[in-house]
Amino acid sequence: MNDYLPLKGVRICDFSAVWAGQTATMYLADMGAECIKVENPFVWNPMTRAASPRMDAFMSAMLPPWAGGHPNSDPGPRPWNNSPAFIHVMRNKKSFTVDSRRPEGLAVVKALIRTSDLLAENLAIGTLEKLGLDDDAIRAERPGIIILHMPAFGKQGEYTLGRGYGAHIDSVAGSTILRGYREDAPYSNVQVFAGDFFAGMHGAIAALAALRHQRRTGEGQVIEAAQVECSAQMFPQAAMDYAWNGRVAGTIGNRSIEGFVPNGVFPTMGDDRWITISCRSDEEWASLARFMGSPAWAVAPGLQTAAGRATMEEMIEERLAEFTATKDRDELFHVLQHAGVTAGPVLSARDAVEDAHLDASGAWKDLPATADYPATRFAVPPYHFSKSNITIRTEPALFGQHNDYVYREVLGLNDEEIESLRAAGHITDTYDAQLLAGG
């Protein structure tokens, strides 16, 4: 069977961690690259497989759902195999374990590099170098390899040693300061960060481009995708407004920077149920006014242009909120759309799971139970190819799941060598006991 996978035959030696790196290689794995995660049973990479290796039901409940919502709120003995935060990024990948800090482990890693077309990493600055794997050493093993570095703040320059997760990437990239309630300090920006996610996409883009060049010419190269610089692309309007006009943008809440008036979030009947409405044109405003029964305030001549509405935006928002407050959210969504007004419900996680359109359009895939999580539905990749078989082809890689494949088939080790590495703790499907004990 030909799956027409775009990256068929490409192998990735994957040292990536947290979100930026792990999503970058996820996109490449989606496209058919054989992405082999290098996992060290003696080193816990923070926020890479779970919030903690010692996650239990108590800690699970203490943490917010995205990080702590393990199956039945009980992570069981292997929380690194069932974290709702991180399990997605393991799809279509393979996992093998090795302690690369020891000579025989480093030799294993080097053997993997010799068969790889791309090496990806976003470990803390200097980690690979400490292992003896600087760019030259990697290229000595495999000339023509692509090396994808995704440092938080760059590999050169004064900020190199800065540490950061998504929150800190967003801060420096100029994104956090733009997110907040209108004319308010940005304290409300506490839970959702996108800088590392956006950087992950750009890491994949750069790698896909470099892989094309490599296929055509045999030439590899080093890529530096500093997460903060990738992320700075997410808000070009604000950055350019300063560069061209010297203006510093602030928070505008749910209003639009595209000139849509009104544009916001309005309450509907029930508890914590909201609808968003955007009038993207004067026609949409006219449709909305008609839909509301053409009240005098809404059909006033001054409000028939976006510029006119902008002068009365607060009043419009208040009146609109009064109107929506007595309506059913989902009914309002559909009738507004049919009336020609851009509107959409603010969907909670539960709402999204129950959404009829996502169900009907094939956004989910049922995956079977494993020892660590029950049968459940996962989101399939959001790019739907008509010929290439791009979906969740293999379930999220459990820790060490592909040791046998990697050591035997990829690296060609014999039983004796494998037993020796197993005895030394390199080959395992769990973390080192001392690490798990908190030592």
Partner: protein, 407 residues
């Protein structure tokens, strides 16, 4: 250092027929153009609506003065074709013959009305055809309208963004649309690889709704957490887990800190350097969960923060390996000497606007550099050249112009 201009682009030799407009689609093709692809931007008469999106140079609107448009369309060529006219569709089909990829953002209904669906434009199905739609080509919401705000509300994690006692909050700017554009660029590059490796064309659907549902800026995690545990991610009451962390005001702005528990706490304390915070009791879970302890910690941390600048704090944080970073504004992004030295900003040379700064590269590719070869095109700037390149003779071009098929 080899001369960067002598090096090839990673996407040299790839011609992209770009049928996108507004923000998401043009960002996808900008990404390709900046990596060396030849991107032919097909504009409607009157142009891409993004030409009228602010901010404008000196706040004066004009088809070339939109900074948003200029950013989204670097390195592209523009041809204006009236696709309402059947002859315009013939021109489009002619241009397709030289293309290696088509990217479209027509809504399904408009594409059907204009006859610019994949089978109508490419009968043999030989070309990769990436199609950004709001909600996909099937399903009950197919023809629904979308904005940045409705997109993030429905597909993204808006429900849990903001404060518990207030309304849900969107991101700034048009972040969700930009994310969709980046995802479409990944899809496009995948389709190009499939074409070049296997010789196949295909349609690749990229519904913006699906992109947001899949985003790991916590949406997919929140959804799976609900499936696993029945817990729904809600808006928080404040920014802190434990006795410290979140956003602090400092002498000249704000910083973001991760400081709860373990190493994070110890490095944070090391950064501040106050012995009172070094006492072992702070590391105990009971202390971390105690409101009185938080008040006590605040009494030490806030005065320290307010007496230091963002850069002072960040320098100390880097030294202590603490997870703390400054909140930069657009001014900082533009003027920060370190980011500038690294090359965050580039320049464009525009025929009528002159030399202007342009937000620069997201990545550094050693052998196939990202680069700006030209500013965003003026409306129809390359119409004649593109037609000539597609085999149209001068009289044919004149006739097309005469009939208003191209401009």
């Amino acid at each position: 250092m080899p001369n960067a201009n002598a090096l090839p682009g990673a996407l040299d030799g790839l011609t992209v027929l770009d049928l996108t407009a507004h923000i998401a689609g043009p960002y996808a093709t900008k990404v390709l153009a900046d990596l060396g692809a030849k991107v032919i931007k097909v504009e409607r008469p009157g142009g891409d609506p993004a030409r009228s999106l602010g901010p404008f140079l000196n706040d004066e609107p004009g088809p070339d003065r939109s900074a948003t448009f200029q950013f989204l369309n670097t390195n592209k060529q523009s041809i204006v074709i009236d696709l309402e006219n059947p002859a315009g569709r013939d021109v489009l089909r002619q241009l397709m013959r030289g293309a290696g990829l088509v990217v479209s953002s027509f809504s399904p209904a408009v594409a059907e009305r204009l006859g610019v669906t994949p089978p109508e434009l490419d009968r043999e199905g030989n070309l990769p055809f990436v199609w950004l739609t709001s909600f996909g080509r099937t399903g009950p919401y197919r023809d629904y309208r979308l904005s940045e705000t409705t997109l993030f509300a429905m597909g993204g994690e808006m429900f849990s963004h903001g404060l518990a006692d207030r309304e849900p909050l969107k991101y700034g700017g048009t972040a969700a649309l930009m994310q969709c554009g980046a995802m479409a660029a990944i899809a496009a590059l995948g389709a190009v690889h499939a074409k070049e490796l296997h010789g196949i064309g295909q349609v690749v659907d990229v519904p913006l709704f699906d992109v947001q549902i899949n985003s790991v800026d916590r949406r997919s995690s929140a959804i799976l957490a609900y499936r696993f545990s029945g817990r729904v991610q809600v808006r928080a009451t404040g920014s802190t887990i434990g006795v410290a962390g979140g956003i602090y005001p400092v002498a000249d702005g704000f910083v973001e800190a991760t400081a709860s528990f373990g190493d994070y706490w110890q490095r944070f304390v090391e950064m501040i350097g106050d012995d009172r915070l070094r006492e072992p009791r702070w590391l105990q879970p009971a202390t971390q969960a105690d409101p009185a302890a938080k008040e006590e910690a605040d009494g030490i941390i806030y005065p320290w923060m307010l007496s230091h600048t963002r850069q002072e704090i960040w320098a100390r944080a880097r030294h202590a390996r603490a997870m703390v970073a400054p909140l930069f504004t657009a001014r900082d992004l533009f003027e920060d000497p370190v980011l500038r030295e690294r090359g965050l900003w580039a320049e464009i040379e525009h025929a009528t606007l002159g030399r202007l700064p342009m937000l620069g590269r997201p990545y550094v590719l050693e052998k196939t550099p990202w680069r700006i070869r030209q500013a965003a095109p003026m409306l129809g700037e390359h119409t004649d050249a593109i037609l000539a390149g597609a085999g149209f003779e001068a009289p044919a071009i004149a006739a097309l112009r005469g009939h208003g098929v191209v401009q």
